[in-house]
Symmetry: C2
Subunit: 132 residues, 2 copies
DNA sequence: ATGATATCAGTAACGATTACTGATATTGAA
DNA sequence: TTCAATATCAGTAATCGTTACTGATATCAT
């Protein structure tokens, strides 16, 4: 049961996310989608982001800054978080899937996967540091 | 300035954390420390956990469950999070520091470190699954 | 001892997120 | 094309973890 019905709002949210590579938060999605549909509710944005994430159509990123970020790119890849400006940036790097096996070696449970994010200063912020 | 003064409350919190290996949350610290000092305030627990973390005496773990966990073991090690019961468990595994270098290869910022946690079913929960 | 001030207990405020409400939109079937 | 069933909506209230404020208390160098 609980068949999923089509909704304009959900399509707008998904389309917006696909147009962005900077992993927006729910609030940023809300502010942007509202320019097309000024009546949309913040609750609707949250509900649909959760729904899309549960369906596997988008990814929810918890990078430790207290706010959830969302990514329309569900392919396996890693993220960098700038501790100065808060930017969340895609990393192009070889797979490190092997670490899951490493972790499972001496562990008596079942390891399903891992979450990794890298932090430091992004290109822009690192440049500003040098100048000062 | 802002010299740090000794406080019984902070000592109690640190001592409690050191007695535990299960990475308690602020609320659990509060409930336990309150058995020794029923007058202690939740705000005091939060303030001192943050203070201790800032001083590097404990580690703050953000494992993605919406609640901060704290660890008195500041040595480098990794954590497993059970997606069923929420337990946070130490992992004994070889260092994977190398992944920071991997990530920095094609990146134009400065990578300072990484955060990784593994998730799945812990020993107890995995056992229950088989039975059912 | 005592003055300066870091810390406290208690409580109010905060921000992100979730839950509730009656109204609206979508859908499969008549 | 209607229609009934119900998923979704907009709007708003409530929740939850955490932080900030307050006047009182504890610590510590002098």
């Amino acid at each position: 049961m609980a068949a999923i019905k089509h909704s304009r709002q959900r399509e707008m949210i998904k389309a917006f996310l696909k147009s962005r590579k900077d992993h927006p938060t729910a609030d940023i999605v809300y502010m942007n989608v509202r320019q097309q549909n000024p009546n949309i509710s913040l609750g609707t944005v949250y509900r649909n982001l959760t729904l899309l994430a549960d369906m596997g159509e988008i990814r929810r990123l918890r990078v430790g800054d207290g706010v959830d970020h969302f990514d329309a790119d569900t392919s396996p890849h890693y993220h960098f978080v700038c501790t100065e400006c808060g930017a969340v940036i895609d990393l192009e790097m070889d797979s490190i899937e092997g670490i899951t096996e490493l972790a499972g070696a001496g562990f008596n449970g079942r390891i399903a996967g891992h979450v990794t994010y890298f932090y430091g200063s992004c290109g822009n912020c690192a440049k500003s540091e040098k100048l000062s």
